[in-house]
C-alpha cells in the first residue's frame, strides 16, 4: 500500500477518534461514539498491517488473536464493581506496551553504533513514562483488588527518596540522550522507572484511587504519544495526546471533588492518621430506627433523595435500591439520586453501578444540580456514604474543610443506613448522625434495604 494512502487513513482515524470522543459526551450518542472510535482503531490497524512488509504473519497474527481473546474474555466477565481494577489493568497494559515498543526500537538501533540524539531522547522518555504507568497500575490494581493494603504505605524520607530516584532517572535519560547506546544504562533506566511507578502509588490511600486511576489513564496516553515520537508516527502522537488530555481533565475534576491538590493526593499519604476518630463522641445520643418506621416515613413523603456511597456497592445493594425506587414511584413519590463525584472508586463509577441495576440515568443528579433542592426534600436516604455528607466540611478547622459535600443536613428528614457509627475514610466523626432530624438505620445495606422493600409492600 502506498504510504500516502496510509497517511490519509491515519488522518481519517485521528478525526474519527476526536469525533468518537465527542459523541461519548452524551448518553444518547455515547454508544455510537465508542463504535466510531473502535472503527477508527480497526482502520488504523488494518492499514498498518497492509502497509508493512510482514515477514512472519504467524507471530503478529497469533499475538493479535491471543490479545483479542484475552481482552474480550476480561470485558465480558468483569463485574461492574470491579471496573476500576479492569481499567487499571488496561492502563498498565497500554503503558507497558508503549515501553516495550520503545525498548525494541532501542535494541534495534543500539546494534548500529551510536544512537541519533532525537531517537535516544524519545526512547528514554517513552520507556520512562510507559514503565511508570505499568508498575504504578499494577500497584493500583493490587490495592483495589485487596491484594495490597488499601491504606497508605509510607516510610521515612519517602518523598525525598522518590525525588532522588526521579532525578537519577532524568540523569540516565540525559546520558542516553547524548547518543550513548549503552544497554546497561538503558536497562537501569527501565528498572528504576519500574521502581518509581511502585513507590509513587503505594503511599496513596484507597479512597484516593479515583485520582490515581485518572492520572494513570493520562500517563497511558502520554506513553502512547511518546512511542509515536519514537517511531515518527503521528496517529500514535495524536491518539495518545487525546487520552492524555482526557485523563488530566478527570484527574483535575476528582481533586476538585475532594478539595485537595494533586500534590496533596500524591504525596500527602491522606488517611494515615485515621485511627483517632471514634471514642470521643461515643456517648452522644443518636436516634435509631427500624425498617417499619422508615417505610412509613418514606411511604408518606412527597420526595426522596438517595445518596449512595461506596458502601452500597460493597454490600451489592444496588438492586434493592432500584426496587425501593420502583415502589416509591408507584406511590407517586418523586425519587432522585444524588451522586457525589467520588462516590465510587473511579470517576462515574456509582453511575455505572446504578445503571446496571436499571436505574434510569435521568434520575441521577450531580452535586451542583441537587444541592439547592435538599431544603425542599422530605427524606434523604444516605446509604453507605459518610465523608461526602459530613457537614464538618463547612468548618474551616476540619480535616475535610472545603471539600464539596452533599447538603443532606438541609433536608427535612435524614435516614442513614450504616453498620455502625464508625468514621469514614477521613477518620473524623460525622455530626450528621447526631442531628435531631437524623435517624440511624443500623445494618448491612442490602439487608436493611431488603427489609424496607418488604415493609413498603405491606404499607396500605
Amino acid at each position: 500500500m502506498p504510504s500516502i494512502l496510509v497517511d490519509l487513513a491515519y488522518i481519517t482515524s485521528a478525526a474519527l477518534f476526536v469525533f468518537g470522543l465527542k459523541l461519548l459526551g452524551s448518553p444518547a450518542t455515547a454508544r455510537r461514539g465508542n463504535a466510531l472510535a473502535s472503527t477508527a482503531m480497526l482502520l488504523a490497524v488494518v492499514v498498518t498491517l497492509a502497509h508493512e512488509d510482514i515477514l512472519d504473519w504467524r507471530t503478529i497474527g497469533g499475538g493479535i488473536l491471543l490479545g483479542a481473546i484475552l481482552g474480550a474474555a476480561l470485558a465480558r466477565t468483569v463485574a461492574m464493581t470491579a471496573m476500576p481494577q479492569l481499567v487499571g489493568v488496561f492502563n498498565g497494559l497500554g503503558g507497558g506496551a508503549s515501553a516495550v515498543v520503545a525498548s525494541a526500537e532501542f535494541f534495534r538501533l543500539a546494534g548500529a553504533d551510536a544512537l541519533p540524539v532525537p531517537d535516544a531522547t524519545t526512547i528514554a522518555l517513552s520507556t520512562l513514562i510507559g514503565t511508570v504507568t505499568f508498575s504504578g497500575s499494577a500497584v493500583a490494581f493490587g490495592k483495589l483488588q485487596g491484594l495490597v493494603s488499601g491504606s497508605p504505605i509510607t516510610f521515612p524520607f519517602q518523598n525525598a527518596f522518590n525525588l532522588l530516584l526521579f532525578v537519577s532517572l532524568l540523569g540516565l535519560a540525559g546520558y542516553l540522550a547524548t547518543g550513548a547506546s549503552h544497554p546497561g544504562a538503558y536497562l537501569l533506566l527501565a528498572g528504576l522507572a519500574f521502581l518509581l511507578g511502585i513507590l509513587l502509588v503505594i503511599p496513596i490511600g484507597g479512597a484516593d484511587m479515583p485520582v490515581v486511576i485518572s492520572l494513570l489513564n493520562s500517563y497511558s496516553g502520554l506513553a502512547a504519544s511518546a512511542a509515536g515520537f519514537v517511531l515518527g508516527n503521528y496517529i500514535l502522537i495524536i491518539s495518545g495526546a487525546l487520552v492524555g488530555a482526557a485523563g488530566l481533565i478527570l484527574t483535575q475534576l476528582m481533586c476538585k471533588a475532594m478539595n485537595r491538590s494533586l500534590a496533596n493526593v500524591a504525596f500527602g499519604a491522606f488517611g494515615t492518621a485515621a485511627a483517632v476518630g471514634p471514642g470521643e463522641d461515643q456517648d452522644r445520643p443518636v436516634r435509631s430506627v427500624g425498617a417499619e418506621e422508615t417505610a412509613m416515613l418514606l411511604g408518606y413523603s412527597g420526595s426522596v433523595v438517595f445518596v449512595p456511597g461506596y458502601g452500597l456497592a460493597v454490600a451489592q445493594a444496588q438492586h434493592e435500591v432500584r426496587r425501593l425506587m420502583d415502589l416509591l414511584e408507584a406511590r407517586g413519590i418523586q425519587v432522585r439520586f444524588a451522586i457525589h463525584p467520588v462516590a465510587g472508586r473511579m470517576p462515574g463509577h456509582m453511575n455505572v453501578l446504578l445503571a446496571e441495576a436499571d436505574v434510569p440515568y435521568d434520575r441521577l443528579f450531580d452535586l451542583e444540580d441537587i444541592n439547592p433542592d435538599f431544603d425542599r426534600t422530605d427524606v434523604v436516604m444516605v446509604v453507605g456514604a459518610n465523608d461526602v455528607v459530613n457537614p464538618a466540611a463547612r468548618d474551616p478547622g476540619s480535616a475535610i474543610a472545603g471539600m464539596p459535600i452533599l447538603d443532606v443536613d438541609r433536608a427535612r428528614n435524614v435516614v442513614v443506613v450504616k453498620r455502625s457509627l464508625s468514621p469514614g475514610f477521613a477518620g473524623i466523626d460525622n455530626d450528621l448522625f447526631y442531628m435531631e432530624k437524623t435517624m440511624m438505620f443500623f445494618g448491612d445495606a442490602k439487608e436493611a434495604l431488603g427489609d424496607l422493600v418488604k415493609e413498603l409492600r405491606e404499607l396500605d
Binding site: 463504535a35 512472519d56 506513553a223 455505572v352
Partner: protein, 92 residues
C-alpha cells in the same frame, strides 16, 4: 523543520483538541469515557505491529509479540467493556 518539532506541534494541538472535546462530558459518563479513552491509548498496537514487521533479531521479535498482545488486550477489552457499560444506560 525537524520531525521532532512537527511531532510537538501535532502533540500540542491534539492535546488542546482533547481538552476541548472532553471537558463537556457529564459526570454520569466519566467511567465509560475513561475506559473508551483507555482503549484508544492502545493505539500503540500500531507501533507494536511496525516493530514486529521489521524485526530482524529474535529479541525484537519477542518484544514485538509481547507488545502486540498487551496492546490488543487493551484495545479489544477497552472498547468491548465500554460498550457493555453504555448498553446499560437507559432513560425511562
Amino acid at each position: 523543520m525537524g520531525e521532532l518539532i512537527v511531532g510537538l506541534y501535532v502533540f500540542v494541538l491534539a492535546m488542546l483538541a482533547g481538552f476541548e472535546v472532553i471537558t463537556k462530558v457529564p459526570p454520569t459518563l466519566h467511567t465509560p469515557l475513561m475506559s473508551g479513552a483507555n482503549a484508544i491509548s492502545g493505539i500503540t498496537l500500531i507501533g507494536a505491529v511496525m516493530i514486529s514487521a521489521r524485526a530482524e533479531t529474535p529479541l525484537i521479535t519477542i518484544l514485538g509479540v509481547v507488545a502486540i498482545v498487551m496492546a490488543t488486550v487493551n484495545v479489544v477489552g477497552g472498547f468491548l467493556v465500554t460498550d457493555r457499560m453504555l448498553k446499560m444506560f437507559k432513560r425511562r
